[in-house]
Each structure stands twice: as C-alpha cells, then as structure tokens.
Amino acid sequence: MADNNNNEEAGAAAPQEPQARIVLYCGVCTLPPEYCEFGSSAKKCKEWLEENHPDLVASVYNTEAVEAAMSHLTVDALARAEKAEQAAEKKAIKETAKAERELAKKLSSKIVLKRVERAKRKHVIVVTGLEAFGLDLKKVAKDFGKKFACGSSVTKGAAAGQDEIVVQGDLSDDILEYIEEKYPEVPVDNIEQVEEKKKKKSEGP
C-alpha cells in the first residue's frame, strides 16, 4: 500500500493501461486529503483520515516538508505567514462553532402539521418547518402532490414570514409517515400534529 501512495503523490507515475487515476477524497470536507489543512474542519478531517486510511496520514500530514518550505522564507514573510495562520485558525474555530449552532438548531426545530378546516368537512394540511432541514420546499411540495394525488403548493411568507406547504386533503397521518420514510434526516419526534380549532368553539370541557 505504501508504494501506491508514492505513486499517487508523484502523479504522473500512474499505470499505463486504465489511464484514469483514482483520487481519494476526504469524507468530511470532500477535498483531496492533502488540502484538508486549509479547510474549516481540519481537525475532523484528520480524524477521518486516521480512521479510514491510516496508511496515508504520514504522507499527508508531513510536518517536516512544511518546515522545510518555511525555512527558505524571509523573516518578514514568516511573520506574515504566521499572522495569516492565526487568522485562519480563528476562522476555523468560528466555523466549527457555527456548524455546531446549526446542528443544535436543527435538532431543536419543530415541524408542524396543522389541520385546517376549509369548507365543511374538508381540510387542508399546512406543513411548516421543513426548510430547517435543508429541504427544498418546492420539490417536497411536488413530491407530496405526486404521492397523495392532490394539490400541494408552497406559500411564501404566510404566517410570521415562514414559508409553508399547503396540502389539499385530510392527510396529516399519511404525511407524517411519508416524511418519516422519505427524509430520514428529519427526527420523527420533532414532528407535531396539531389541529386548528374554529374560533367559535370554546376551549375546555
């Protein structure tokens, strides 16, 4: 395996017959592993590489080569490089914090399936909160329409500026099941089914 790495590093030394080289890409940031250090998730990338391709770690994270490259720089350039390095580090920390925040937001955000009465005994389901999971509402709406053979549309900025999907038909349970099945990234516990009561009816027993 070690020989293969050397070939890969040398680039042009690829075998003659099937000409295309197969390049390994980092599972975290998708760049070739040697560029991970410039990404915002360098630490995670290193962990990934150690776990999945331990044989490559030594060649990719070769500090000696870095130092050798640094040595022929002037003092001034060195100072500048250090400054840039620090700035990059700060940026990386910020990025990770941001990613964490987003994840937390994702975990806490709720999806609401609201049953709204339109005409007598006719209902529509209003789905809100799906966009927090990085789903394209337009596409999801189309999927709902296809799956349940009904009208399904996106209303932009309806209630409190939030976009929502309106599905025509009393399908609350079916939609819940469908989301559960089709979009595994959405935690089921965060989906809530509610019913909009008519204003006339008073609450309580």
Partner: protein, 181 residues
C-alpha cells in the same frame, strides 16, 4: 465564477450531434486528452447538460460533471477530471503561501507563481495567455484550481505583478460542492 454556491436547475439530455461536437471541441482544446477521450466519455454514453446561473453550462456524465463553459467560451475541465488525468492539462505550480488564498477564491497574482516554491514552464514550452491551465501547489500532488491564463508565462516571469491567472474553479467552491442527482 462559482464562489457562491448554487443549485443546478433542470438536467437535459444532450443531442448526440451536440455531444459529438463537444467531443471534437474537447480534443481540439486539450490535444493531450485525445488518447483518453474514450475513457472519459465512452462512445455510447449519454451526456447531460445542466444549466447554471449566468449562462454557464455544465456537461455531466451520470453524476459527474466533466466540463463546463460560460456561454460559448473555452471549455474548462472539472477539477475531478484534472485529478484523473493530470498529465493532460498544462499545469503551473503556486507556492505554499498562495494556497490559502486560492482556496478562498482569490485571483492568482504573479508573485505566487514566481517565488521559489512555484513552478512555471520553461521558455521553450511557454504557455500563451488565454489558455486554460490547471494549478498545482507546492508540496501537493493534486491540482487545486482551474483557471484562465491572463498573461503569457514569460510575461509573468518578467513583469511579476498583477493578476497572472484568473480563478475559474477551485477546490471547495460552488461547483465542487454541487450535488448532481
């Protein structure tokens, strides 16, 4: 060109005549790629055209984008293609200090191409302005950027100022991260 992320709109199948024309255009522009063209685009394959904002067309085979072009300009290879066939594209090398800036989408300035860690082709193999070039980096095996040469490489050496290569597509930009389904 792709600094911001974007979502590809619809995918359409390429007419076979258009696909044939594209093949010849690719081999015209990258003569070194000629022996590998059948491996890159098999004869019977069906390419897809994906339209991106600003009149950019992406040519994809299955889920891999192979080439892209703006309007009717030169074709640029996707970086994954450059990684697969690195010897088929004229390549320059930048020094280590410039990598960070390239990966955040900056234009490539001449000093980054002339310093000790960088490498330009020799006088006899000069690359002219307007050529599509791949950019490697000091101490790295893979290319990190595809760009359009703004000055002849000899001019870069003598002038050593200003923009040398216009950044078109770099590791981690919107095109790199684009998910084709």
């Amino acid at each position: 060109m792709f600094k911001k992320g974007f979502t590809g709109t619809q995918k359409t199948k390429l007419k076979s005549s258009v696909q044939r024309a594209l093949r010849t255009k690719i081999t015209d522009q990258f003569p070194l790629l000629t022996p590998h063209i059948d491996e890159l685009i098999p004869k019977k394959s069906q390419l897809d055209l994906i339209k991106a904002p600003d009149r950019i067309s992406l040519y994809a085979l299955g889920t891999d984008i192979l080439f892209f072009q703006h309007h009717d300009d030169a074709l640029f290879p996707h970086l994954r293609v450059v990684h697969r066939f690195p010897q088929c594209f004229p390549t320059l090398q930048i020094d280590r200090g410039a990598i960070r800036f390239v990966l955040s989408g900056a234009q490539l300035m001449c000093p980054g191409l002339t310093s000790p860690g960088a490498r330009l082709p020799e006088r006899e193999r000069e690359v002219k302005a307007g050529t599509v070039v791949a950019i490697g980096a000091e101490g790295k095996g893979e290319a990190c950027m595809v760009g359009l040469l703004k000055m002849d490489t000899e001019a870069i050496k003598s002038v050593n100022k200003g923009v040398g290569v216009e950044t078109v597509h770099y590791l981690g930009d919107g095109l790199w991260r684009l998910d084709v389904d």
